[in-house]
């Protein structure tokens, strides 16, 4: 079984850098790390391949300058190989532009299963997995809390507000994995040393057969016109208990439709 995992490499949240004032996008000139939200997909893929007893986990990522810092972490966790797509024309890509690139790179791998995080920790668009599925003509299942492969199809528990749905789906399928549903393994020391010799295929737009006008700033269908600081949190209401505080709390929660 071949599982492809979409992996985003993001600026370290502990040292995120700054916004580019001209484009209102995050500068990515610092060292990039594996997006934690993608580590769950990597872990789930490794578990599925372990359970199958045969197969491999391949990573696909898009970043400037063939940056592989985050990919190496996922390779150290146990993934077999990776593809990194870099091209000067990719700067400014929106979610759809990113999805076009990822879909083309994933298709080259002919996977049985494609996993992705539900959303990245820096962009939070939350639409890339579904767009990749559409572009590849594959079914899409979102918010998976567990996946098993049985009888040549995927059995997925899909997280909902009320609980979860049982979904069965033919392979190949694109599945987005909910954060926190598995415990990502630590990259072992041996895995870290082995990661540097694992194959990483470096591709550009020409190699993928993608027209530069369809991606990057040229192809972006969105523009970030302004970024404002989030308003400071307002002080909450203090309720003095005159014997009816519990009723007021219940009324407050009722107004929020929590009860």
């Amino acid at each position: 079984m071949k599982v492809v995992v979409c992996v985003k490499q993001i600026p370290d949240p502990a040292d995120p850098g700054a916004l580019d004032p001209e484009t209102n996008t995050l500068k990515r000139d610092t060292k990039l790390i594996l997006d934690e939200s993608d580590s769950y997909g990597v872990e789930m893929a490794l578990q599925l391949v372990d359970a199958a007893g045969d197969g491999e986990v391949h990573l696909v990522s898009m970043a400037a300058n063939n940056e592989v810092g985050g990919l190496r972490t996922a390779l150290a966790m146990g993934a077999s190989s990776a593809t990194i797509v870099s091209d000067d024309a990719l700067g400014g890509s929106d979610a759809l532009g990113t999805s076009k690139v990822l879909a083309a790179a994933i298709a080259r791998q002919e996977p049985d299963l494609v996993l992705a995080g539900t959303e990245s920790s820096d962009g939070y668009t939350g639409v890339v997995p579904e767009q990749v599925a559409e572009l590849m003509g594959l079914p899409s299942v979102t918010f998976a809390k567990s996946i098993s492969i049985e009888g040549g199809e995927a059995k997925i528990q899909r997280q909902t507000e009320a609980g979860y749905d049982d979904v069965e789906c033919p392979l190949p399928v694109v599945v987005s994995v909910t954060a926190g549903v598995v415990e990502p393994r630590y990259p072992s020391f041996k895995g870290i040393m082995a990661a540097k010799s694992k194959p990483v295929d470096e591709l550009d737009l020409d190699a993928l057969g993608i027209d530069a006008a369809q991606v990057g700033w040229a192809g972006a269908g969105q523009e970030i016109v302004a970024v404002d600081e989030a308003p400071a949190r307002e002080a909450g209401e203090v309720i003095e208990d005159d014997g009816d505080a519990h009723e007021r709390i219940v009324a407050f929660l009722d107004d929020l439709k929590i009860l």
Binding site: Y186, S188, F189, K190, I192
Partner: protein
């Protein structure tokens, strides 16, 4: 010498920092409050460390260990030094001396210790023989194909978690220019050997939850096959493998100082007195400058010694300078950190009072500061015949 981290070293240190933050730090307060690490927590941490592939990181990869070089190991120990030793120790670092195992000893001791099935401890000190190791009285007498061991060892760290001991005992005596001195041999002794008794040691101000034990040997019969190295050559075995232990103490001291300095810096940058941040007062900011300078000095000494060990050029003096500089730096940094925080520095809501207490033993175990100075000065004077 280039101490810049490679990508791999950076990932290794990141892994350890993440492991320490997630698996060890959350248990610190419980260990401090109770003075024990619950057996189920020991088992849990051991399993997680094995699964994470960070157990026995100091041992060669071909034997199942982490295969780290000494410089990377120093960086790893520094990252572990962020937390307390009772928890750190569980992510085992088997004694390097086990690499001296031969024949059946490899399968009986070395390999199962690397894989976590067995746990080692090491016994050298005695109530009447501390720094003067060759004055030890615990002895092993040959009797056919066995040795009979009699005597007492104390200050035996984590013997309560171990199931065997790397034991140094006297097996003879020789005349030297400074009078008769014991000939030392080392043995691998299982704790289920009749005549071997492990009992609790003393309450110690440092490293709560990491226990020192007393081991009594009452005519314990040990097969000659348990001799580690050659008879009377125990010091050779120790000298070949134990240098790294002093680097470990030095590197852990760096990690403790990192944390103390971080707490003190945060405090200086945020606490206001007399209408300004206290870091604006030179009485505080100069302390931070001195703490940072001494920490950087010790870092250089420690990484230099580790780097030289990887080049097979480290001398006893190099290791001694690293330990001396790092442990005395930690004493200074932890004390000054408390001074910056004032009364809060002594409260157990923060880790400073623990780091301060724990630092005290580091200037004593694995060779006191005075012994380190002796080793360093000996290396200077001996070539001159002094």
């Amino acid at each position: 010498m280039d101490f810049g981290l490679t990508d791999e070293q950076e990932m290794i240190v990141d892994t350890v920092r993440a492991f320490v933050a997630r698996e060890l730090v959350p248990h610190e307060n419980q260990v401090e409050a109770t003075g024990v690490v619950a057996p189920e927590l020991v088992a849990e941490i051991t399993q997680k460390a094995l699964a994470a592939g960070i157990y026995a990181a100091n041992m060669p990869a071909e034997l199942g260990g982490g295969g780290l070089d000494n410089l990377t190991m120093a960086m790893v120990d520094r990252a572990f030094g962020f937390t307390q030793y009772a928890l750190h120790y569980i992510v085992a670092r088997p004694s390097n001396i086990l690499q001296a195992c031969q024949g059946a000893q490899v399968d009986d001791y070395l390999l199962p210790t690397i894989s976590g099935e067995r746990v080692d401890c090491l016994a050298m000190s005695e109530p009447d023989a501390g720094s003067d190791v060759r004055g030890m009285s615990c002895k092993a007498t040959r009797d056919g194909d066995h040795y009979v061991i009699k005597g007492t060892k104390h200050f035996i760290s984590h013997a309560d978690l171990a199931d065997y001991v790397i034991l140094f005992v006297a097996t003879g005596e020789e005349e030297t220019a400074r009078g008769p001195k014991k000939l030392i041999s080392s043995f691998l002794v299982d704790f289920d050997t009749p005549g071997v008794e492990v009992v609790p040691g003393y309450n110690c101000v440092s490293n709560r939850g990491y226990h020192n034990m007393i081991i009594n040997f009452d005519n314990a019969r040990v097969p000659a096959s348990k001799l580690l190295g050659e008879e009377h050559r125990g010091f050779d075995v120790a000298n070949e493998w134990l240098g790294a232990t002093r680097l470990q103490v030095a590197a852990i001291s760096l990690g403790r100082a990192d944390r103390a300095l971080s707490v003190a810096t945060e405090w200086a940058a945020t606490r206001e007195q007399f209408g300004q941040k206290i870091g604006k007062f030179q009485g505080v900011s100069f302390k931070l400058a001195d703490m940072t300078t001494k920490l950087t000095e010790a870092e250089m000494m420690t990484y230099r010694a580790a780097w030289k060990m990887d080049q097979n050029t480290m001398t006893d003096g190099d290791a001694a300078m690293a330990k001396l500089s790092a442990t005395e730096m930690l004493q200074f940094v932890s004390d000054e950190a408390i001074q910056i925080l004032g009364g809060m520095g002594l409260m157990d809501e923060l880790p400073l009072e623990r780091i301060w207490r724990d630092a005290r033993v580091d200037r004593i175990w694995d060779g006191t500061s005075e012994i380190q100075r002796h080793i360093i000065s000996r290396e200077i004077l001996r070539p001159l015949g002094a």
